[in-house]
């Protein structure tokens, strides 16, 4: 390995600040914080709808559509949160959401990464055609296959079971395509070295490629988890019993007087539903940035 490559590893592990260390310190600091302030303002503007959701959750019903409109509640209330817990089997729905989104994520990561490895590393005849066929399955709208899928799962006797909820999502074309692109970008030196040492493909996959692909796996894991956690149509159609619903499908059952959606309660429900996702991402984004920086690309 050349000296340049070694230095880059050092720089990478020291993360961002390493690149700045060559610069004179005082002027850039001002620029840096000015950059920060401007970007913070832009971010806040972008986040305005999210802020509205969060604050509306604390408004009493009479303020939700009051005029003049206000950002902050005049009277803060927790009634909307109480209503969520009294009107829905909230704990049960959250558990269901974790089982559904978590189950799909675990299976999809495992199966997608295996298939992606084959497509990126095992150069077999027809691999490109297979890739295009897999990607093509993304191009049919879900609305068109929903009923055939439902009938299939029903024929299997899986209606209102977790297995039936998870199985159709246990592998997906998006994940395979995503991971394949990432695996392609990983340098081949390492796995080829392992192969020369007599490692099996399984061993190369598990011990060489996967450890280097942690950031991509985490990213895909977050996407898969979020998409399924927030998915409405599939759990709604699939689970005819409320007890088997997810938090996202459960929130659609919230109604106020005359079937009008109580918006404050919806916002409270959405806020609770989004918390696990936000926490998950907060943890994962740290790890995936770090892990990439530290594994580097050797």
């Amino acid at each position: 390995m050349t000296a340049l490559a070694k230095r880059s590893e050092v720089a990478a592990t020291r993360t961002a600040s390493g690149r700045d260390s060559h610069r004179p310190s005082s002027r850039p600091d001002v620029a840096r914080w000015l950059f920060f302030a401007v970007f913070l303002a832009i971010t806040l503007a972008i986040m305005l709808p999210v802020i509205i959701i969060a604050l509306t959750a604390f408004k009493p019903a009479s303020e939700v559509n009051a005029f003049p409109p206000t950002l902050f509640p005049e009277q803060w209330t927790l009634d909307n949160f109480r209503a969520i817990f009294s009107e829905l089997p909230f704990g049960r729905l959250i558990v269901n959401s974790f089982v559904f989104a978590g189950g799909v994520t675990v299976f999809a990561l495992a199966f997608d990464s295996l298939a992606a490895y084959a497509l990126a590393r095992l150069d077999f005849r027809g691999s490109k055609v297979l890739l295009i066929v897999i990607i093509a399955t993304l191009m049919i709208p879900f609305q068109a296959t929903l009923i055939p899928i439902y009938q299939l799962v029903s024929d299997l006797g899986w209606v209102n079971t977790f297995w039936g909820l998870i199985a159709p999502r246990a592998a997906d074309a998006f994940g395979i395509f995503f991971l394949r692109q990432f695996f392609l970008a990983l340098p081949r030196d390492l796995d080829n070295a392992a192969r020369i040492d007599g490692a099996s493909e399984w061993r190369v996959f598990r011990s060489v490629v996967l450890p280097n692909a942690v950031p991509a796996l985490l990213t895909l894991g977050v996407f898969t988890f979020v998409n399924n956690w927030n998915d409405l149509l599939w759990p709604l159609v699939f689970t005819t019993e409320q007890e088997m619903g997810t938090i996202t499908s459960g929130l659609t059952l919230l109604t106020g007087p005359g079937g009008i959606i109580p918006q404050g309660v919806m916002m409270a429900g959405a806020l609770i539903a989004v918390l696990p996702l936000a926490i998950l991402f907060l943890i994962v984004q740290r790890r995936f940035i770090e892990s990439v920086a530290s594994t580097g690309l050797k």
Binding site: T43, I52, A118, D172
Partner: protein, 317 residues
């Protein structure tokens, strides 16, 4: 992104015979490996995606409603796809949406990814997480928040701006502005997703390349055009295809914001598929329309494959 790209700056030498991309033909063990790695995912996809797609294809030649026995109608449904004025208008609307949404979403996501990846930004982790929030909140409540902002009578934006004498009109009910507004909200909802993909791509670019460039005196824009952008090409190829597929399947955000109005000016193909399948109970027609969409999407994607492929930065190198 190719292997050479990543490794060249580090004095990489091509591997010997054993290490090259020699096709795994030959031994039984290797063939077994291919099958073993692909089987779990392919079985799931074949059963739960492939078979339903075949069912939908069969339905597309029938007058199926979901009840009773469907009758074979030949290509009638496909003829209707290309002769029904509503469907043709929705194709135009879908194309307009895709043209508005795709480039803006990608540019916004890329710019934000570059900013939050910048070593000069304090609390970058905080920004990364916050900017991901629009992607994870549920669409139904996001739609509420947007209408709370945009409503011409009781919306916050108008209320705040009225002091300045500015009024935004009823953007969601204006036949010219409704589609751009819907596309804007869709960009807002999804840029976080593409941003994270770009972030993952940016992490792959070895710091050493930037350092080498710095030694050469390249800065700012030059570093972006000479290093970052080319090094992101496999990510970009992925994002462009995924974003285009998403744009051509636009449904949720339009359904909750305008329901296809005003005057059907935001009615997209998937809205029509939903309407035919779930409202009019014409599954046969909905399936035919879905297949037309699939074929159009596939053709556009193949064009992109070729485009990225020709530039040698491909998807399938």
């Amino acid at each position: 992104m190719t292997t050479q790209h990543l490794t060249k700056p580090r004095g990489y030498r091509p591997p010997g015979q054993l290490g090259g991309r020699t096709p795994l033909n030959g031994t039984f063990a290797r063939r077994a490996a291919v099958v073993g790695f692909l089987a779990p995912a392919l079985i799931i996809l074949a059963v739960f995606v492939g078979w339903p797609m075949v069912s939908a294809l069969q339905l597309s030649f029938t007058d199926a409603s979901g009840f009773g026995d469907p009758g074979f109608v030949g290509i009638d449904n496909y003829v209707r796809v290309f002769t029904d004025a509503n469907i043709i208008r929705s194709m135009g609307n879908t194309a307009l949406y895709a043209v508005l949404f795709t480039p803006v979403a990608i540019i916004v996501a890329l710019v934000l990814a570059l900013i939050v990846n910048s070593p000069r930004l304090p609390f970058a982790g905080f920004f990364r997480s916050v900017l991901f929030l629009p992607f994870i909140v549920s669409l139904a409540v996001a739609a509420f928040a947007w209408s709370y902002l945009l409503d011409p009578q009781i919306g916050l934006l108008n209320y705040w701006l009225q002091g300045a004498g500015i009024r935004i009109g009823n953007v969601l009910q204006d036949p010219l502005l409704a589609m751009p507004t819907v596309a804007l909200v869709a960009v807002w909802k999804s840029f976080g997703f593409y941003m994270v993909i770009f972030l993952a791509g940016l992490q792959e670019i070895p710091t050493s390349i930037y350092e080498a460039a710095q030694l050469d005196g390249a800065t700012g824009w030059k570093r972006f055009t000479n290093i970052t952008f080319p090094m992101l090409s496999s990510t970009m190829a992925f994002v462009v295809i995924v974003a285009l597929i998403a744009a051509l399947q636009a449904f949720d955000q339009i359904y909750v914001l305008t329901g296809g109005g005003p005057y059907q000016s935001t009615e997209t193909i998937v809205l029509q598929i939903y309407q035919s399948g779930f409202k009019d109970l014409e599954l046969g027609f909905a399936s035919a329309l879905s297949y037309v969409l699939l074929i159009v999407t596939l053709l556009l994607s193949l064009v992109q494959f070729l485009f990225f492929g020709r530039r040698g930065e491909d998807i399938a190198s």
